[in-house]
Symmetry: C2
C-alpha cells in the first residue's frame, strides 16, 4: 500500500505475520478494496488460489458484520499476476447469526480493461458465538507426528508448465509443510497411485492459523493428482470451504482425498484438523488435470 | 406463464415432464427471467432448495453458452413463497470448455420491495464434450434394489415447524423415493443414530434425470439429521453441486453421509450414482439443525 504510515501503524504492522501483511486490503470507496497480490504466495508464476480466496475473505470480513468466513465458494476465471488488484464486494443479506455477500477480484491492464480473476460467494458467521456441541463422527486420518514427516521445497508442478521458467515456488518459503511419507512419492518420482496427500502445515514465521488463513491452507498442498501419477498444472475451477471452528494454536493437519477423477477433471476433498483433534475446516474443489 | 401458446407449443409442452414445466423460465429482458415457483416442489410450506437451484440453473443455461451445470453453489438467504419470482443472471467469463456466471432469485412484495431468496454462482460445461476417461475410485454404497426398498409419503419435518400446518409434502407426489430400510428408522420413530440416508429416486411421471434435474435430486431426501435423532427443519445455508456426467436413464441412487455435526450446523455429503454405476454428481451442503 502506498499510504504513509504513522510510527504506531508501522510498529503494529511489524508485529503482524507475513500472511496478514500480504492479505491487507485498503478501502477505496464503499464496497471497493485495493489489494497487492504478493509473489510470495505463488508457485512458479501461479498465484495460489487459496491466497486469492483469503484476500476475498478479508474484504468480505470488512464488508459484512460477521467476522469469520463460514462457507465460501470461489470460481477461478483467469490467473492474475502479482501486483495490484481490486476487490468489489456486495452485501446480499444481513441476519442475526450469519450474513452473506459476493466478491469479485479483478485486475486492470494498462489500457484500463478489467479482467475478472475470481468471483466468490460467502456466508460469514461469528464462530465464537456458535454453541460448543461437537458430534463429529469422521476420524482424524492416521499421520506420523511432524518430526517424522518429510519436508521438501519442491512442488511437482513448478516449472513444468508453459512459461513456467520463472522463479521457483515462493509459497514454500512462507509455509512449513511436513508431508506424510506415505503420500509424497511424487517428490522422489515414485507416486503411490493413490489420490491422497497429507501434511502438517504452519506458517514459517510462527503466525498461528485462524479462520481467514484456513481459506489459504485448504489449497496449500500439491494436488493429489501428482500422487496419482499425473503431471502438469492442475488449475482449480471451483473451491468451496466450510470453516467450522477457530483452530487451536500450532500446526494443522491437512488431509486431501481424491476419489473421482473422470472426464479430465477431479474432485479434491480436504479436511483440516487442529492440534486438539477438532475438524476445523472442510473443503472441496473441482480441478482440471493433464494440462501440460 | 401467461404467454399465449400456439397449438405446436401446447403439444410440445404436454410432452414435457412435470419438472420441465415447473422449472420453466421466461426471458423478460437480457439477463432477467420470470419463473413461477410451484407448490408441487415444496415440503410443508418450504419450497425445496434443490428445486430453486434448478430454476437458477435453467436461467443460467439460457444465459451461458455451455448447456450443463458443472459446478454450482447456492446460498439460501430467505425462504420464498410459491408464486412468481425473478431470476437475474450475469455472465462472468466465457471460455472454450467452461463458462461462468451468477444468478440471484428474488421475489417482489405488493409494496414493490425486493426480497433476495437465493444467490448462486455457477460454472457450466458441455458434459457430452468431455473426454470419457473414468478413474473413479470411490465405491457405490451397498443398497438393496428398489423393489426391496421402502416407500413413505411422510417427511420427518412436515408439519413440525412453526406455521407448518399447511398442506403436507407435495414434493413426494412428484418423486418416487425408495428408501434403504437401514436408513429410514426416522419413518417409524426409531432413528438409527447414524448420519446416513439413501434412496432410489426417479420422477413419478417417468421423466429421466438429466444434469439440470440432478441439481434438484441432490436435495430431494430428508436430512440425515433426522436419522441421527434430531427433529425440526434443517434449513440449508449453502449447497454446492458438481455434475460430472449425464445420468443413464432410470432411477438414480442418492446417498447422503453426514459426519460433522458441530456448533449447531452439519455438513451433508451427497453422491448420486446412475444405473450404470457411474458417479454422476457429488454435492455438499451446510445446514442448521435443531430449529424447531
Amino acid at each position: 500500500m502506498s499510504k504513509i504510515m504513522s510510527v504506531a501503524e508501522t510498529v503494529a504492522e511489524a508485529s503482524l505475520g507475513r500472511f496478514d501483511r500480504d492479505t491487507a486490503v485498503e478501502l477505496r470507496e464503499t464496497g471497493l478494496y485495493e489489494a497487492r497480490l504478493s509473489p510470495r504466495w505463488a508457485t512458479g508464476r501461479k498465484v495460489n488460489g487459496g491466497y486469492l480466496l483469503s484476500l476475498a475473505g478479508r474484504a468480505l470480513g470488512d464488508t459484512l458484520p460477521h467476522p469469520h468466513p463460514f462457507t465460501v465458494t470461489a470460481h477461478y476465471l483467469a490467473a492474475p499476476s502479482a501486483g495490484t488488484a481490486c476487490i468489489r464486494t456486495e452485501t446480499a443479506r444481513v441476519g442475526r447469526t450469519v450474513s452473506s455477500g459476493s466478491a469479485v477480484l479483478y485486475q486492470t491492464d494498462d489500457r484500463s480493461r478489467k479482467a475478472e480473476c475470481v468471483r466468490a460467494l460467502a456466508t460469514h458467521a461469528d464462530l465464537s458465538a456458535l454453541p460448543d456441541d461437537v458430534h463429529t463422527t469422521t476420524k482424524r486420518p492416521a499421520m506420523p507426528p511432524p518430526e517424522l514427516c518429510l519436508r521438501t521445497s519442491e512442488h511437482p508442478a513448478s516449472g513444468s508448465g508453459p512459461g513456467e521458467s520463472g522463479p521457483s515456488s515462493e509459497m514454500s518459503d512462507q509455509l512449513s509443510l511436513r508431508y506424510d511419507p506415505a503420500t509424497c512419492g511424487w517428490a522422489v518420482g515414485a507416486p503411490s497411485g493413490r489420490g491422497e496427500m497429507r501434511a502438517w502445515v504452519s506458517h514459517a514465521d510462527g503466525r498461528d492459523q485462524d479462520p481467514l488463513s484456513l481459506l489459504q491452507v485448504v489449497d496449500a498442498l500439491p494436488s493429489p493428482a501428482f500422487e496419482m501419477g499425473f503431471k502438469g498444472w492442475v488449475p482449480t475451477v471451483e473451491l468451496t470451504v466450510h470453516i467450522r471452528a477457530r483452530p487451536a494454536p500450532g500446526p494443522v493437519l491437512v488431509s486431501i482425498l481424491s476419489e473421482n477423477l473422470a472426464g479430465g477433471f477431479l474432485e479434491e476433498d480436504v479436511q483440516v484438523w487442529d492440534g486438539d483433534d477438532r475438524l476445523v475446516a472442510q473443503a472441496r474443489q473441482l480441478a482440471r488435470v493433464g494440462r501440460n
